[in-house]
Symmetry: C2
Subunit: 241 residues, 2 copies
């Protein structure tokens, strides 16, 4: 049974303000919820149309109609769970770190979190202007990878100012990434979808890198930030393979 207070809480968690206030976020779909249950994340409540056979005090069986009322998806997928937002761990300085300067699109951030997981990037550092990683659309796009990447929201300029690692940034007019001896340890900064890396953050970049274009050089479009991140993380890893 679904009470009014449950519905009110779940609906509020669409908004960052209430996620921060309550310290909870929403996950949907059997597969992703199961993956999160196996992680260190703490379950607050599970609303499901079929039992997961977990501790009954956290599991609330509901009907399809009830699920449709609380789901953020057009096609709800059997279950919705509320988990506690974990505390971010301190940022390691012992590997490759990805930093995002105001990436706004939830789908892009979700894809980028999956890429960090794939390429073994333990730390994802986001500027305060980057979309919240506990946004339901981001969670949906990460497919469980969010449990394996440490995501910190920081004052990016301050972080870059204080690090001892070399700082690389993706630019349209950077050096060809194929020609650069990329290190095992360092920071790669990716910029906003429309404006790229901001002037303020650019001041901290040691090496500007770019992905060569092979098509019609007259065309002005850039690569999408998620696909550019895929290519550049692959470049960092391949040289140390």
């Amino acid at each position: 049974m679904l009470s009014k207070s449950h519905i009110k809480l779940i609906t509020s968690l669409k908004q960052k303000k209430y996620r921060l206030q309550h310290g909870f976020f929403v996950v949907e779909g059997v597969k992703t919820i199961k993956e999160l249950l196996q992680s260190k994340l703490i379950l607050h409540a599970l609303y499901t149309t079929e039992s997961f056979n977990i501790d009954a005090k956290n599991e609330i069986l509901i009907t399809e109609v009830e699920l449709k009322r609380i789901s953020f998806l057009t096609t709800p997928n059997k279950a919705l769970a509320i988990f506690k937002i974990p505390e971010a761990k301190s940022i390691g300085e012992n590997g490759l770190i990805l930093a995002l300067d105001a990436v706004r699109d939830p789908g892009n951030l979700g894809t980028i979190i999956r890429l960090c997981d794939w390429f073994g990037v333990k730390d994802l550092v986001c500027s305060k202007e980057t979309v919240d990683c506990f946004n339901p659309k981001v969670i949906q796009a990460t497919m469980g990878s969010i449990t394996r990447v440490n995501i910190s929201y920081v004052d990016l300029e301050r972080f870059l100012n204080e690090t001892g690692l070399p700082i690389y940034g993706a630019f349209m007019d950077g050096e060809t990434v194929y020609d650069i001896q990329l290190p095992e340890k360092g920071i790669l900064v990716m910029g906003n979808e429309a404006n790229g890396v901001s002037k303020e953050v650019e001041a901290f970049i040691n090496t500007k890198v770019s992905i060569p274009r092979f098509g019609d050089l007259q065309a002005t479009e850039s690569l999408n930030v998620a696909t550019a991140t895929a290519i550049l993380l692959n470049e960092f890893r391949r040289v140390n393979f």
Copy 2:
């Protein structure tokens, strides 16, 4: 002024059946429409809230309210145009060709078309089960790249059977792409989002390639097909840079 027959035609073009029947597709947004106007595509009609200063017989000035009625977008962007679907040119056999085996998501196909444009892949060959490239969501995601890539829908098995080019395919259990001497000319096959390359198509693959995973090897998720395409096209290009 917007007549009922205009509205009926535009609305019908959301569906592939009617796009094929009429031979038209819809493009939205000032920037993309301007880019398509500069290409070889033939404009059928332009519905816009502000004049583009083009031949008046093709331009119909409408109000914001009228645009909202015909737009496929939640936030319409000043103009909507109908273009003629171009005839596919014959497939060249003199470079790198990308082939898609039942890629279903319009956003993925749009991103992949942009990647072909970036990496100078002139021919994109799609199985009949691949989402239609004139689907409005694909067009929206291509950002004009669709004018620079020759897209053919074919019987993929037959095409692969008849080509003289070496055929590479992306698989989870393929050889590490870093270890393979990739050629300048060849075909790269990418599979469906959920099932990868089908058994039928797999029979034609000469070399299975995979992108090494560096993160938690227990995790089972694969890369998204668009990001995997980005990485593999970059790999094909970098060796011949």
